[in-house]
């Protein structure tokens, strides 16, 4: 008993079923020692100036304890040896945070390739440096003086770019002549690192006139695309539009300008802005859409103001019965039409809010119009209006029901709005395709239609089967019995 208890403990405390965690891979880690060595040698490629031990980094990111590093540090910095020593001291105090937590396998992949270690910057230094606005240090401010130990004033463009890629401090100011700047750009582009290209472009944007910048970039596709992306990201709309204008990229110019409307909340202002978009060089189809967008918003503002007034006055029945849940501003066209069919159905063409007016102004096709009107009237359970939508008088004066959409769609919409069975039945009967008709009738329990259809199809089996579905003793059951017993029908089965 004793023994089994101990064993049981063992069993319960161990589990054959290991959950998946990333740090299960201790074994893998030892296997990776070989690759670790290989990757450490990669450091030269990535970071040939730091001697930092990649894995021994304090919490503030400074490499710790490397003596040769600290010697270089103090020796190299001209006139800042005082600070250098200070830094060394404070770094030593961090030496207790010698190691990063033991890397689990996901970290190891990236930590091996973490070429970009750099010492932290101190607040005082960064403050000091930020007081020097004239100089621009790309990529970041606030590097401790120690990092400038190898700062020299005459790097070639390719060296500069290489330093940028490693994230080191670099003044681009020394590239004064246009030729130098262009060479810098060329080097950056050939390096493919987007970050570096952006850095150079920021510099060029600041130090070159617009015209020259545009002219030079026109022939440099990669840098040009980069600049466009950059301008979009920082939202420099003005320069972006100027650039498109210069490049004669008219459609992009128009679209960029139009995109801005999404940032304008106030409806009046947005409407005014949209007005400025009309006449921009969109494609023919799109121009029409933009015009419609403006017109729609213009109408919506009018309708909204009017309806809000009506609603608060409390005299109009429809608004009392079905208070509005949201404003109609900025809604799509079809939604607006639905709203209009709901609240303003009977209005004449003259008003802005009448459905007919909308149909005419925006050239809404019949199909769309009928569908939307149907949905709105069905929601209000106005079955007569629904009938009127489909009833047409032919030349003999007889009325007939026609629809630009299949009647099966009509039935579905009616059903969705809980139409009474009589209404449903009428429209199910109008479905042309017999199978669909039967399906819908069965689905929506339009007994008479089913019965009649089965009779027309001379399908006795189906009628028999359906008999079990109707209520016992109901009129439908009687009807079925009567038909089944009828000797006049020549059944197929």
């Amino acid at each position: 008993m004793n023994r089994t208890k101990v064993d049981e403990e063992e069993y319960w405390n161990s589990s054959k079923f290991k959950a998946f965690t990333f740090d299960d891979e201790d074994d893998e880690l030892s296997q990776l020692k070989e690759s670790k060595r290989a990757v450490n040698s990669l450091r030269d490629f990535v970071d040939d100036e730091d001697d930092d031990d990649l894995e021994r980094v304090s919490w503030s990111g400074e490499p710790v304890g490397s003596i040769s590093w600290s010697i270089k540090e103090t020796a190299g910095s001209s006139g800042s040896s005082q600070e250098g020593r200070e830094q060394l001291k404070s770094r030593n105090s961090f030496s207790t945070y010698a190691q990063l937590p033991k890397p689990s396998s996901t970290y190891s992949l990236s930590s091996f390739f973490r070429g970009r270690t750099r010492p932290g910057s101190f607040q005082s230094l960064s403050d000091a440096l930020s007081d020097v606005p004239a100089k621009s240090y790309a990529p970041e401010l606030g590097r401790p003086k120690g990092e400038y130990r190898d700062y020299s004033n005459d790097w070639s463009p390719s060296d500069t770019v290489r330093r940028l890629r490693k994230g080191k401090v670099c003044s681009l100011e020394r590239f004064r002549s246009l030729q130098d700047k262009l060479q810098l750009l060329e080097e950056a582009v050939s390096m493919h690192d987007g970050n570096v290209i952006t850095a150079v472009l920021i510099f060029l944007k600041r130090t070159l006139s617009k015209e020259i910048l545009f002219r030079e970039l026109e022939v440099r596709q990669v840098a040009l695309r980069h600049l466009i992306h950059f301008l979009k990201e920082i939202g420099d709309q003005k320069l972006l539009l100027d650039l498109f204008r210069f490049l004669d990229r008219t459609e992009e110019l128009a679209l960029s300008h139009y995109r801005e409307h999404l940032n304008i909340q106030d409806p009046e202002k947005r409407k005014e802005f949209l007005k400025t978009c009309i006449g921009l060089p969109f494609s023919a189809e799109d121009s029409a859409h933009i015009q419609d967008h403006y017109t729609l918003l213009e109408r919506q503002i009018i309708i909204e103001a009017n309806d809000r007034h009506l609603e608060s006055a409390g005299q109009t029945e429809i608004f009392r019965k079905h208070p509005r849940k949201a404003s109609i501003l900025n809604m799509p066209l079809v939604t607006t039409l639905f709203y209009s069919c709901f609240y303003h159905y009977t209005e004449a063409e003259g008003t802005f809010s009448s459905p007919v007016n909308l149909k005419k102004t925006f050239k809404i096709p019949d199909k769309q119009y009928v569908l939307t009107a149907l949905a709105a009237r069905a929601k209000l359970r106005a079955w007569h209006d629904v009938d009127a939508l489909f009833t047409t008088k032919n030349w003999l004066g007889y009325t007939k029901k026609r629809a630009p959409i299949g009647f099966h769609r009509v039935v579905e919409i009616l059903h969705k709005n809980s139409a009474p069975v009589q209404v449903l039945q009428e429209y199910v009967n109008l479905v042309e395709d017999v199978d669909t008709k039967l399906n819908l009738a069965t689905k929506f329990k339009c007994h008479d239609v089913v019965i009649d259809t089965c009779r027309d199809l001379k399908d006795r089996q189906q009628l028999l089967a359906y008999r079990s579905k109707v209520d016992k003793g109901s009129a439908e059951e009687e009807k079925i019995d009567a038909i089944l017993n009828s000797s006049q029908i020549r059944w197929k089965n």
Binding site: Y11, F45, L371, R409
Partner: protein
Amino acid sequence: FHILFVPRRSLLCEQRLKDLGVLGSFIHRDEYSLDLIPFDGDLLSMESEGAFKECYLESDQTSLYHAAKGLMTMQALYGTIPQIFGKGECARQVANMMIRMKREFTGSQNSIFPVFDNLLLLDRNVDLLTPLATQLTYEGLIDEIYGIQNSYVKLPPEKFAPKKQGDGGKELPTEAKKLQLNSAEELYAEIRDKNFNAVGSVLSKKAKVISAAFEERHNAKTVGEIKQFVSQLPHMQAARGSLANHTSIAELIKDVTTSEDFFDKLTAEQEFMSGVDTDKVNSYIEDCIAQKHPLIKVLRLVCLQSVCNSGLKQKVLDYYKREILQTYGYEHILTLYNLEKVGLLKPQTGGRNNYPTIRKTLRLWMDDVNEQNPTDISYVYSGYAPLSVRLAQLLSRPGWRSIEEVLRILPGPHFEERQPLPTGLQKKRQPGENRVTLIFFLGGVTFAEIAALRFLSQLEDGGTEYVIATTKLMNGASWIESLMEKP
């Protein structure tokens, strides 16, 4: 304050911080560089959502640069890859960057024995079709319906409430149930890549096995036997829990896949993919717009039709555009422009539809597909073989020379590069030993494609095993969403 940029610091961020005047308040700025993140034993991803948009819409190659860096890391850990194949503009760029980086890094030679025989770089825009179709594998459907984020999925909790006896009035949990999905879970590894219609039988078989195992306790008579049973208990309980979870998930999915709308949507998709009626306005799409189904669903379908028709006739395209703008709002002009620019929804130029040629030559549509015991990768979409995976399959056997004509129709150059290895490291494959190919999708990959590649890996006479890498794990919806213009 400290700031750690993940996955990499960017000048743009720093510039923004500088503009806001707060850059100085960060004592320490560093970067935690994450290029390729392992998601499973054979799957890596950069999880860069914007990569497709950047590369193909804005022609900004920064993501490609990072992909190249990620690949250099892979080579540092697993050895130089001797052969690089590629198809597409971006693939060409990445290969160039890799070769250039290797050249700059002279001196210390990599002495690791190469694990990978080949690297295959594929542009997403070589195969714009596959992500648009609805995935039909188990994992694919979970992603389509609920969205898998970083191997986790959030599910409606009702089906996961623990069933306790006599607790009729208990409140159902209101928080979504979060489950982790990866191959460490035995059952999931077994069913994740199967066509959904084959999952049911696996689950019921499993249920029988587990019940039988639990019944064993009645047979355990001696102390030794009881002990053995008890030792198995944790494993069996875990298996039972796993089975319960997946049975619930399968039920949830089934509710969707048996719905009428799902069937109609699938019918429309399969008609397009098999080449039927791709040049007319499709009535199911019209109905979806009329009923104001989610915009992304509509966009996926019209893009699918456009791709399967090599672009739509101007009249059809204008019609769809007008319907969409009138129903969802005019501001979507911007999104439609983006879709046109990347080639997903565009007018037909040249009047020629190339898709049937591609479909026939590469056998993309297989009529007789076996969902239970598949013999071909087309099971992942119940009939459509993912174009990208087909290309990988043909590269392995018999090689791309056999499909030169089709490759010329597909966008972008195709190429082959060799990276020399020091003689000691050259690999000699034993006969019967599989080659290992690292396949990198530049622009995103779907779970269905991953399933198809895993299927190829485990084929007995396949000859190649695949490790999959990508810029992002995605599905049609997240893909289209990344291309939408938002305020």
